[in-house]
């Protein structure tokens, strides 16, 4: 099933940017999301949890954000979606969506972007759906409000969408309430709602964490398929590097509010250059089903918002040198689209070799 006729960007976004771009981006071309030097404060400005994140997402690309809990990946996503939790604010930096600055959009303007241009799915689908209303109704509501479809057309489109996200018997699911559906089915419903107005960008924040592995594999396949069919870009967040590398084209590694490494997924798994990425790879489920010593990353990440001179990973780093603890560490290119924020990245192709054995 193919859903076409994308609506152009709403006037408000175009007017807000003032760039005179009147047509929406074509699928498969151009930059969908661009974040520059983003700083996000939490606790009403008491601490800076996201410190200078920059990232880009091209149309049709799946970009994965990976890092421990508290590393700022979810806050970055929420800033991009314009739905920061209370007490959090963008302190510095810009978020551009399809070439338009959306950093300071009003609530009203965001409402026109949400759904139509950006969709989102989160970890716990049940808490984002109304438990008392049929899921079919919840999807048609979106279509009627955002797409101005008539009742009957909305209903037809809704059943099509339920079928497209792999729900068997979409007609039956249409009339069910969330409690009657399993976690995997609910996540499919959420994805159907998120992509119902054909957004250019889907933000998926830990969408499979609560699901069984077999269902997780199916949802991952569905996301890939939606990207292939619709040229939709996906920003995928997970703490599981194995999952990220399976799905994503490009991987961005977060540590304590900074991007420490980014690059093509194959590059990251085969030639990780940052000691933290290497540590993440060692603790990830690499697909090894043998008996082995399970590795851990020694130490704790710094407190959210802690001011640390030099590299934020230096405390836990096996190869840190005194220079790592002074000044700011620049992000340098070490390969094609492969950037690393580490003083020692150039010294060794593989930091493992630096560690005394």
């Amino acid at each position: 099933m193919v859903i076409d006729n994308r609506s152009p960007l709403p006037d408000v976004v175009t007017a807000g940017a003032g760039a005179g771009v009147s047509q929406g981006p074509r699928p498969g071309a151009g930059e969908v999301l661009r974040i520059d030097d983003l700083h996000v404060t939490v606790h009403d400005g008491a601490a800076t949890a996201v410190r200078g994140i920059s990232l880009r997402v091209q149309a049709g690309e799946i970009v994965g954000l990976v890092g421990e809990s508290g590393s700022g990946k979810t806050l970055t996503c929420r800033a991009a979606l314009g739905v920061l939790p209370p007490g959090c604010a963008i302190e510095q930096g810009t978020v551009s969506f399809a070439g338009h600055d959306v950093t300071a959009l009003s609530q009203r303007d965001w409402e026109r972007v949400h759904g139509s241009h950006m969709g989102a799915v989160f970890q716990d689908p049940a808490s984002y759906l109304n438990p008392t209303i049929t899921v079919g109704h919840q999807l048609t509501e979106v279509l009627r409000v955002k797409r101005r479809l008539a009742r009957r057309a909305a209903r037809r489109r809704a059943t099509e969408l339920f079928g497209a996200v792999g729900l068997r018997e979409p007609e039956r699911v249409f009339h069910q309430i969330p409690a009657e559906l399993s976690g995997g089915m609910l996540q499919r419903v959420m994805i159907a709602i998120a992509v119902s107005c054909d957004p250019q960008l889907l933000v998926a924040d830990e969408p499979t964490t609560a699901l069984d592995v077999t269902i997780q594999a199916e949802v991952i396949e569905l996301l890939r398929q939606l990207r292939d069919q619709r040229g939709m870009a996906v920003l995928f967040v997970s703490h599981d590097l194995a999952l990220i590398t399976e799905l994503c084209d490009r991987v961005v590694v977060f540590y304590a509010g900074e991007v420490v490494e980014s690059g093509p997924a194959a590059e990251i798994t085969e030639r990780p250059r940052h000691p933290y990425t290497q540590a993440l790879l060692r603790v990830a489920s690499v697909g090894d089903f043998g008996r082995r010593e399970l590795e851990v990353i020694a130490g704790q990440p710094p407190q959210v918002g802690a001011n640390i001179a030099g590299c934020r990973f230096a405390e836990r780093c096996p190869v840190a040198v005194p220079a790592c603890r002074t000044g700011s560490i620049p992000s340098v290119a070490v390969g094609d689209e492969h950037d690393v924020r580490c003083l020692r990245a150039e010294d060794a192709r593989n930091v493992d070799q630096l560690v005394a054995r």
Partner: protein, 334 residues
């Protein structure tokens, strides 16, 4: 390390059926479950939501009564105990359960000291010094110290919370520990930390541990035996190394192929193990194999549920096609 077969099992679940709900709501959650746990072994219990893993754990600790069959712990048929005897057995705390989400299973208003000491107080420990000593001792076993005593679950990290709930279980000196999804809410590094901790507890205390998990790869790192549950039945039960090297039940293979992996060297792809629309309709009916509806390798025999039968030694599988399906899977498109 366990010496199997020669010693009697510490725990024996004998052809247990469990029905939850009454009347038209009644649903058979476990069918004909046979499970033995020997001292000193780590057993991984895997299966999807609704497969009966948690119900099995609750049956073992006596929170659920089996409709048929019995649960025997160290010679004592605990499923047959009633009222006072049942309560006394529970208070001895020989079998301890560690719950999935410590943020929800630990009382948010209690301090760590209260949570860890609660089981001891219920058992009648009144001496404050003694209590504090036992609590600190339990915390030390999980790598925590007195600094967390006065904190509430909301004030410590996710990994620490799970360690507190393990300490709570250890405080009463259990002889069997059952952990229900102890690591599914944790990130990779904390997950490995907790699993290593369980491995160390098994080694230092000789404590047998059942770990319910759906992360097969990290389970493989520490478990001795794996038990796969599907639709309320055990479909495969065997030594971890053997089962994960060449699973004999197609569902075990599907679970392994579904696990995310940095490498891509699985023997079978997901497509080879999933039913497609081209496959002939599976046999259905009340007696059909529980996995038939999702199995691409069904034959006429699958209209009858296969019993759990020994493949070799202590490795058993419930599948009519256990010798044939691998070759059939190879022939399917990757």
């Amino acid at each position: 390390m366990p010496t199997l077969a020669s010693t009697p099992p510490l725990l024996a679940v004998e052809s247990v059926d469990v029905v939850l709900g009454r009347g038209w709501r009644a649903r058979k959650v476990l069918s004909h479950v046979d499970l033995q746990i020997w001292p000193g072994e780590i057993v991984g219990l895997v299966g999807e939501t609704g497969s009966g893993k948690t119900t099995l754990a609750r049956t073992v600790v006596g929170l659920v009564n089996p409709r048929r069959g019995r649960v025997v712990f160290d010679g004592l048929p605990i499923s047959a105990l009633r009222r006072r005897a049942r309560r006394a057995a529970r208070r001895r705390g020989h079998v301890q359960l560690v719950f999935q989400d410590p943020l929800r299973s630990l009382d948010p208003d209690l301090t760590v000291a209260d949570i860890v000491g609660e089981g001891l107080r219920i058992r009648g420990e009144r001496d404050r010094e003694e209590l504090r000593g036992r609590v600190l001792d339990a915390l030390e076993k999980v790598g925590l110290d007195a600094t967390v005593l006065a904190r509430t679950p909301g004030q410590i990290s996710g990994g620490q919370r799970q360690r507190v709930s393990i300490a709570r279980a250890l405080a009463v000196g259990p002889r069997l520990l059952i952990c229900d999804e102890p690591v599914s809410a944790l990130d990779a590094s904390s997950r490995n930390y907790v699993l290593r901790l369980l491995d160390e507890l098994r080694n230092s205390l000789g404590l047998p541990i059942v770990i319910i998990s759906h992360d097969l790869s990290s389970l493989a790192g520490i478990a001795d035996r794996v038990v796969v549950l599907y639709g309320g039945r055990i479909v495969e039960d065997g030594p971890v190394g053997r089962v994960f090297a060449a699973p004999r039940h197609p569902y075990t293979a599907l679970l392994m192929a579904s696990a995310p992996s940095v490498r891509h060297d699985q023997p079978f792809s997901l497509h080879q193990l999933r039913r497609s629309d081209a496959d002939p309709a599976p046999p259905d009916g009340p007696d059909a194999c529980v996995f038939a509806a999702r199995c691409p390798f069904t034959a006429d025999a699958c209209a009858q549920q296969p019993p759990l039968a020994a493949v070799e030694g202590r490795w058993s599988v419930a599948c009519h096609r256990r010798e044939e399906w691998m070759a059939l899977a190879q022939d399917r498109n990757r």
